[in-house]
């Protein structure tokens, strides 16, 4: 399991130029808001957390298609399946590496973009916590979608249709939490919901993704 994690992180690091794509997209979207709406604090600050969350969601969505494709095509996944290490653990390692290279940079960049969007100072910690809990959920749900569509060429439309509805609760809880914090309310409920979703999907998504990948392998 640890060896698999090490390999996947190393591979993700080698692929960093491709994985930078969603991160750049995230920055561009957030940077375009002040340009399009005018950089007025009273206009932007209510939009800030929503804009950051929508951009993070779309950036993650962009990166999903490639999560398993290369390994599926090169026969790497079938060797993982045949190996003595449980397949779902290796899939979990892949999902974690994906989050480290796409989700984590979004979390780390978000304060900078929040500044650009005039987010009130009291929302910052809540935004960080909500993204830290929420982006892994996006990667985990996305992994299930990506594994279901791995054998579909040009499957990204199907993938989006499959995954976006499941992203909605994360988006709602994630984007309302910083807004509530701005009004001086501690959004404990929202954050606990995100944490609960993280626990749920961290447990089930690797199993589901592993099963879906296996079904796709058997059919090919």
């Amino acid at each position: 399991m640890l060896a698999a994690l090490q390999t996947e992180l190393l591979l993700a690091f080698r692929k960093r130029s491709e994985l930078a794509n969603p991160v750049v997209f995230f920055i561009i979207v957030c940077a375009l808001f002040p340009l399009a709406l005018g950089s007025r604090a009273e206009l932007l600050s209510p939009l800030a957390s929503g804009a950051i969350w929508v951009a993070a969601l779309l950036a993650t969505l962009m990166s999903l298609d490639q999560m398993f494709r290369e390994d599926f095509d090169q026969g790497v996944l079938e060797q993982m399946e045949l190996s003595a290490v449980p397949f779902y653990q290796q899939v979990a390692a892949k999902i974690f590496a994906h989050w480290v290279m796409t989700g984590l940079p979004l979390v780390l960049l978000s304060p900078l973009l929040a500044l650009m969007l005039f987010m009130p100072a009291e929302s910052y910690p809540v935004l960080l916590v909500s993204l830290l809990l929420g982006t892994p959920v996006l990667s985990l749900i996305g992994a299930v979608g990506a594994s279901l569509t791995v054998s579909v060429r040009r499957g990204s439309v199907v993938l989006s249709l499959l995954v976006v509805p499941l992203y909605i609760p994360v988006l709602i809880f994630g984007s309302t939490a910083p807004q509530m914090a701005a009004e001086g309310i501690l959004p404990l409920g929202q954050l606990l919901w995100l944490a609960a979703m993280l626990v749920l999907f961290a447990t089930l998504a690797p199993l589901a993704a592993a099963y879906a990948l296996r079904v796709n392998m058997l059919g090919s």
């Binding site: 390999t7 090169q74 026969g75 060797q79 045949l82 003595a84 059919g219």
Partner: protein, 212 residues
């Protein structure tokens, strides 16, 4: 004779909805080399993948090492499958690839790595990315696994493809040694490769529906 390592009866499998293997029986004993021969499309790859559990198949009997098993995946970690696709990861170096392949089986050992790299003629290439290797070199990396795996059965789909003369000889030696130590090998090839002194058997497969 001892119990067969793999004993399968009434095997049927399909490729793209067409039956390619129909009601086949197959026994493979320890120390035996089984050569699957036949024209393209005869179902050699399909059969091998089915025996490894990588393809849906149904059978009336499936026994591994004398034990009844319900699915090929139950013995998957005791066999080694090397297929057409190299399963070598382009963005890892030769050394990292071998480490990764070894990590797939906790019982594998990488102690003999420098010697192994000499044997596969890749000494000095340890830190090259696999994407910069030739097809034959990649195949050598994939095949190097054979030397550190504790598997009882090697399932090799066209293992000699894209290997040079020396590579073919090396693989022949490896197979001969493995079989003499009690391992079993199931392989397919269109090349002429002999294994003198080994318990060798050949199965000729036909394209289904052609005879009719």
């Amino acid at each position: 004779m001892a119990d067969p390592l793999l004993n399968i009866a009434g095997l049927n499998c399909e490729r793209g909805g067409d039956p390619v293997v129909v009601n086949m029986s197959l026994q493979l004993h320890p120390g035996e080399i089984l050569h699957l021969a036949g024209p393209n499309g005869a179902g050699k790859t399909t059969l091998m993948r089915a025996l490894c559990g990588l393809l849906y198949a149904d059978y009336s009997r499936l026994e591994w090492n004398g034990m009844q098993v319900s699915s090929a995946l139950e013995y998957a970690d005791e066999l080694l499958y090397i297929g057409h696709r190299s399963s070598v990861r382009d963005r890892l170096t030769v050394h990292e690839n071998l480490q990764w392949l070894a990590s797939l089986n906790p019982a594998a050992s990488l102690e003999l790595l420098p010697d192994l790299l000499q044997q596969i003629k890749l000494a000095g290439y340890e830190d090259e990315l696999a994407s910069s290797l030739s097809a034959g070199q990649k195949r050598r990396v994939a095949l190097a696994r054979l030397q550190f795996s504790p598997a009882l059965l090697w399932v090799l789909d066209e293992p000699f493809a894209s290997l040079d003369v020396e590579g073919v000889e090396l693989l022949q030696q490896w197979i001969t040694r493995f079989v003499n130590e009690g391992g079993s090998v199931l392989y397919s090839t269109h090349q002429r490769v002999d294994f003198p002194g080994c318990h060798y058997r050949r199965i000729d497969m036909q394209v289904q529906g052609e005879a009719a």
